[in-house]
Symmetry: C2
Subunit: 252 residues, 2 copies
DNA sequence: CGCGGAGTTGAACGCATTCAAGTCTTGTGG
DNA sequence: CCACAAGACTTGAATGCGTTCAACTCCGCG
């Protein structure tokens, strides 16, 4: 599925029109290709309208750690707007459709559309919140919980974009990718995924996560989605799914 | 030492005056106190002029994971400006001196000082880069490398603020704090710190890291500081210290 | 003097890694 | 349609890094 209007709770239709208007025509890149490299000066940032992109960092032995996973509707390298260079690599995981936005046009928004400009900052702050949660996930959770927790994050993020149902969602990664996101080895990831499968929490195969028991998956992963700053409607859906009582106050 | 003008490479003296002008009078808070809690609405953000502050997240068993460590001269919760609520807790580690800035005054900068406003975004993007590096550290490095790598980060960040020399720096943490930042147990952190000590790389005791052999510490930690976006002068100092040849081009 | 927190050390356990050998799947060319 | 290769997934067994539990030392402070 293609996403041309994302962050619907953050950006108004008018915002989306403006952003769309300063984007270059879509570019298609093949799966598993390097989109940008660390330390190279970038002139534009990309909006990801289709496909998945990984942000990775290599250790000295050449082993890869994913530091983020971008899904359709994400800006994949907004940091480059003020940083000019990235500190990590960008790699397409699937075939991707990108829409570039030259940094000079983003800069022009600063004066012309200050509120929209601030929303872009907001979007990058959500990215940072996700980073922090990844630190927590890798630092504190056991292997099995990490995998389940990661699937929970994808479940919620994709659902919020209309890219999944309560039954499951497409996640076009290999088990090795998952391992490199969770800070474990591929072999061990394989065994843990098999455990989740046999326990009935969820199944990951053929590039798809099928969620047999959402509540069990969330419990196993010790997941909470506060850090995703979801629209209230999505939050309410999730609470209902998991049998939690709705929040009294309107959420922010 | 007190830092009233930080980010000297990002903020001009005029910027610093403006920021200082919209700050409330300094507040002093005791060590080991809760400065802000997750999910509570905040009306202002804090500039940390003295002391250390940790950003933490608890797991379900009540065990703590640090997701960031703020040093003198940092803004500790700029995300709250557009988020309104934090997804983690803020805790003072030492006695701290804070200067609050009401969010309405930050918002006023958007129109009045758009360039300065963008620099605040930039600062939060550096925070995000540090988050990503923590993911890498915890996800890919062995215990010993994590500890050394963490000390390297503090070495460089504090040096860049004028809060350390090539011989060492004050780091008022307990071994348990270090463990909770690196995703290992306090007992194991103790053993690894002892190893680094006996190898001569660095010593951590009495709230101070003494660096016997910077090159060895950097090697053990597999550290690189690209993600800190340092001023060129600091980068040059570090390269000289480690016997690397200087960069040809001016860095960004 | 005694308390409490931080640091240190020992020993047993177990989760995760590593190396290795398989199977299954998919795409390609004969 | 089959043969084959390449990559993904699976499984077994040995190893080891890090955890856990426990006891003890050291130090600052009331």
């Amino acid at each position: 599925m293609r996403i041309d209007r994302a962050y619907s709770d953050i950006f108004t239709p008018r915002d989306a029109d403006i952003l769309h208007g300063i984007q270059a025509p879509p570019e298609i890149r093949p799966a598993r290709s390097r989109l940008a490299s660390a330390h190279v000066v970038l002139e534009q940032s990309y909006y990801l309208s289709q496909g998945f992109v990984g942000r990775t960092r290599m250790d000295r032995a050449g082993r890869r750690q994913f530091v983020a996973l971008q899904i359709p509707g994400d800006y994949v390298d907004l940091p480059a707007f003020t940083m000019k260079r990235l500190d990590h690599d960008l790699e397409s995981i699937t075939e991707v459709t990108l829409r570039g936005t030259p940094h000079e046009r983003l800069a022009a928004l600063r004066g012309a559309e200050p509120e929209l400009f601030q929303k872009l900052w907001h979007v990058s702050l959500i990215d940072a919140a996700i980073h922090r949660y990844w630190i927590y996930r890798i630092g504190r959770l056991s292997g099995r919980a990490r995998i389940a927790n990661f699937f929970c994050e994808m479940y919620v993020r994709l659902y919020a974009r209309g890219l999944g149902t309560f039954d499951g969602f497409a996640l076009p990664l290999t088990q090795t990718d998952v391992a490199e996101m969770c800070g474990i080895t591929p072999v061990h990831a394989n065994r843990l995924i098999a455990e989740l499968r046999s326990e009935g929490a969820c199944d990951f195969s053929g590039g798809r996560v099928s969620v047999g028991d959402p509540a069990l998956m969330f419990r196993t992963g010790q997941f909470s989605w506060d850090y995703l700053y979801l629209p209230a409607a999505v939050d309410a859906d999730l609470r209902q799914l998991l049998g939690l009582r709705p929040l009294r106050a309107a959420s922010g």
